[in-house]
């Protein structure tokens, strides 16, 4: 036990796990109704991990060998689950991202959630989330990672359904949990199969085994594909992406933290985590690439027609996740992970900015926001534009560099179709992003008199409180500078700098795709003469198809109703009531019935009964005596 305290690194990791859960427990049990105290505890327990994460990152900037700590958590027979920490560049970077963004969101929420009756609960749930996500980042074994992964699901469930009085919120929470669970079952099956046929599920071990080819290929493929199911669930890949847009029912800071920056990136992180293992299976890589591409296109097209600002960003998150998966699946570990990092920054920024607007105007519809003069909120408007530029991949913002890296990876893939798809995706991304920005920046039919009509309460609403704007500024700074850190990150993550051949074709095509997207958005929404209808509405059928979200929700709802509820549940219930129970009851009642049938013998004439008895006894006796 003394090792826990003498080794500062270990102590740091340990504190990262213990403090958030302590905060969760303390708040839930004792200080739920004391908002100030809850806030203090929660902030304390997120600031320390933040400092730990940054100091670890600083300390191990030149890390050569991964640092592993392992302790026995469960020792059954052949199932052995260690509890431990694995510190290598992959986990250190994720740790830092998670700690930073979750700290920023906690700060931001002071303003956003002010006065909510569930303020204490909210911070408790955020602490729980911090615990599970930090756990995912630094877990040493896959089973431990799975456990934290599930806890992520739970905290996501609790946070999405935070405003549980709203039917849509509780429904969305349930949907998120069940859909991700659906993927997780695949993940768990993968872990079970790996445990059975390989045994040791330590991440470092699995990776080295896959590289050394000491694992049969079928096992790698099966394992990787099943684990990818979990990724599909958490990272909202087609066809399990349906939960993410609904998850926007939660408070906006939650959307920023969980459903854009960190939690949904956990899937991508998982692939990065076991990248040597995952990339040893060409089948898994192919499936991942295909699904990533489908997800990218699907969500981008839906994002083009959504009118709820959070929905747009939700679909953009889905599409960017698809993009990351594409990058990883195309063979570039760095590209995918780098995009994860930059995306975490600018997407959190986007959401937090939108949160300011939503908080201020009390609506989610960005057309309404624009009409009410959204652009007058200077800081959020500037930062949201920065984030949008990053999302679209415009130089010099961080998104440019990471998208460039992914497109580069796709470009080197033998099949060029993926590259073209990627470009198309980048184009769509730029289009739908700037659709929002232009609508907000250049409102067409602002109606001041209407504004005064029924939004009087909002007028006396304060400006943007500093607790909300500081995180925006910090994130905006990240968004601007992170792109230039590409070289450092490469050295950190890979140990060496990639050789950059200046492929002008690639560069130009990427920039053109982004700029043309922005240009089209300008024509449709931005310019003075714009008709404010998307180009897609020239094809009504397609527009409708996109508006209905490719009918994926309908499909799942139909699947649930027709199969789970309609067929299995009903059939089994019928069977239980009628066949099993009915059978037993029939036996019971037939016993009663047969008793009733024979009851005519029960005449209650005692003497008659006795007479029969006597006659029979005497008769039998006589018969026996006669025989002798």
């Amino acid at each position: 036990m003394s090792a826990w305290f003498s080794d500062l690194t270990l102590l740091g990791c340990f504190l990262c796990m213990v403090l958030p859960i302590a905060s969760f427990g303390l708040i839930m049990i004792f200080t739920r109704n004391n908002h100030k105290l809850s806030l203090a505890i929660s902030l304390l327990c997120s600031t320390i991990p933040l400092m730990i994460a940054w100091s670890l990152l600083y300390r191990y900037w030149d890390i050569a060998e991964p640092i592993v700590y392992n302790y026995d958590w469960i020792l059954s027979d052949f199932i052995k689950i260690p509890f431990g920490f694995l510190l290598d560049p992959t986990s250190l970077l994720m740790l830092t991202i998670v700690a930073t963004i979750s700290w920023l969101v906690q700060i931001y929420s002071i303003g956003y959630m002010e006065g909510d009756p569930g303020f204490g609960n909210y911070y408790a749930f955020l602490s729980l989330f911090a615990l599970s996500m930090l756990g995912v980042s630094i877990s040493s074994g896959l089973l431990q990672l799975y456990i934290c992964w599930e806890l992520v699901g739970v905290s996501s469930y609790l946070l999405i359904g935070f405003w549980y009085e709203k039917f849509s919120a509780s429904e969305a929470g349930k949907k998120a949990f069940v859909v991700t669970r659906f993927g997780d079952v695949g993940f768990f099956m993968g872990l079970a199969i790996l445990t059975i046929f390989y045994g040791n599920l330590e991440i470092a071990n699995i990776n080295s085994a896959a590289v050394a080819q000491s694992m049969p290929p079928w096992l790698i493929s099966t394992g990787a594909l099943l684990i990818f199911c979990g990724v599909m669930g958490k990272s909202a890949q087609f066809p399990l992406h349906v939960w993410l847009p609904d998850a926007m029912e939660g408070p906006t800071p939650v959307s920023a933290l969980l459903h854009s920056a960190t939690m949904v990136a956990a899937g991508v992180f998982l692939i990065a985590r076991i990248y040597p293992f995952f990339s040893a299976s060409p089948e898994a890589m192919a499936v991942a690439l295909a699904l990533g591409t489908i997800t990218l296109l699907l969500s981008s097209t839906i994002g083009m027609v959504a009118t709820d600002i959070k929905q747009v960003w939700a679909y953009s998150t889905v599409s960017q996740l698809g993009f990351m998966i594409m990058g990883l699946a195309a063979g570039s570990y760095f590209a995918g992970y780098f995009h994860l990092t930059t995306h975490a920054g600018f997407k959190a920024l986007l959401f937090l900015c939108s949160g300011v607007f939503i908080h201020h105007f009390g609506t989610n519809d960005f057309f309404v926001m624009a009409a009410k003069g959204g652009r007058k909120l200077i800081i959020p408007m500037v930062t949201i534009t920065i984030a949008a530029l990053a999302l679209s991949g415009i130089f010099p913002f961080s998104g440019f560099f990471s998208k460039e890296a992914i497109l580069g990876a796709l470009y080197h893939h033998p099949n060029k179709i993926w590259f073209l798809m990627g470009l198309f995706g980048a184009f769509l991304t730029a289009y739908y992003t700037f659709r929002v920005i232009f609508v907000m920046l250049f409102p067409k039919n602002s109606a001041p008199e209407e504004k005064h009509g029924h939004d009087e309460p909002h007028e006396e609403h304060h400006g943007v409180p500093w607790v909300m704007s500081i995180p925006l500024l910090i994130l905006a700074t990240f968004t601007i500078i992170l792109g230039f850190c590409q070289g450092y990150l490469e050295r950190f993550l890979l140990g060496h700098t990639l050789h950059h051949e200046h492929n002008y074709l690639l560069l130009v095509s990427a920039v053109i795709a982004a700029l043309s997207g922005i240009g089209l958005a300008w024509l449709d929404w931005g310019s003075k003469k714009a008709k404010c209808v998307g180009f897609i509405s020239y094809v009504p059928a397609l527009e409708n198809f996109f508006k209905e979200k490719w009918y994926m929700d309908h499909f799942w709802r139909w699947f649930l109703n027709a199969f789970i509820y309609g067929t299995f549940s009903r059939l089994f219930t019928y069977n239980d009531r009628r066949v099993v129970d009915g059978g037993v009851d029939t036996v019971a009642f037939s016993t009663i019935g047969s008793g009733r049938l024979l009851s005519f013998l029960q005449t209650a004439l005692l003497q008659l009964n006795l007479l029969f008895m006597v006659v029979v006894v005497a008769g039998v006796g006589l018969y026996l005596l006669m025989g002798r």
């Binding site: 009733r596 024979l598 009851s599 005519f600 013998l601 029960q602 005449t603 209650a604 004439l605 005692l606 003497q607 006795l610 007479l611 006597v614």
Partner: protein
């Protein structure tokens, strides 16, 4: 004749048969009880006869007889109280009217 076990046994048998007839034929519960007493006495005679002619020690049968007497007294007490209770409940002590347990 007097010193023959079978004589007593036949006497007891006859008494028993009469008692049985009474149990089977009479409708009044008290009469049934009386008949039962006859049957008990028949049994008692048997015990006494065996005691007199066959048993190794002549005290045993007498003790048995005394035991039967006590049991009979107990039976009579309980039986009569039941009869009284039945009469209170059903206003009759006819066996054929006591048909509450008919199926």
């Amino acid at each position: 004749m007097i010193n023959n076990v079978e004589t007593y046994l036949y006497i007891a048998l006859f008494l028993f048969a009469i008692g049985l007839y009474g149990v089977l034929a009479r409708r009044s519960l008290i009469a049934v009880l009386i008949s039962v007493e006859l049957m008990l006495n028949a049994a008692m005679i048997n015990f006494m006869a065996f005691n007199r002619f066959l048993a190794p020690h002549p005290a045993v049968g007498q003790i048995y007889a005394l035991f039967i007497m006590a049991v009979a007294a107990a039976e009579a007490a309980i039986g009569l109280s039941i009869i009284v209770a039945i009469y209170r409940k059903m206003k009759s002590i006819n066996v054929e009217h006591a048909t509450e347990l008919r199926g």
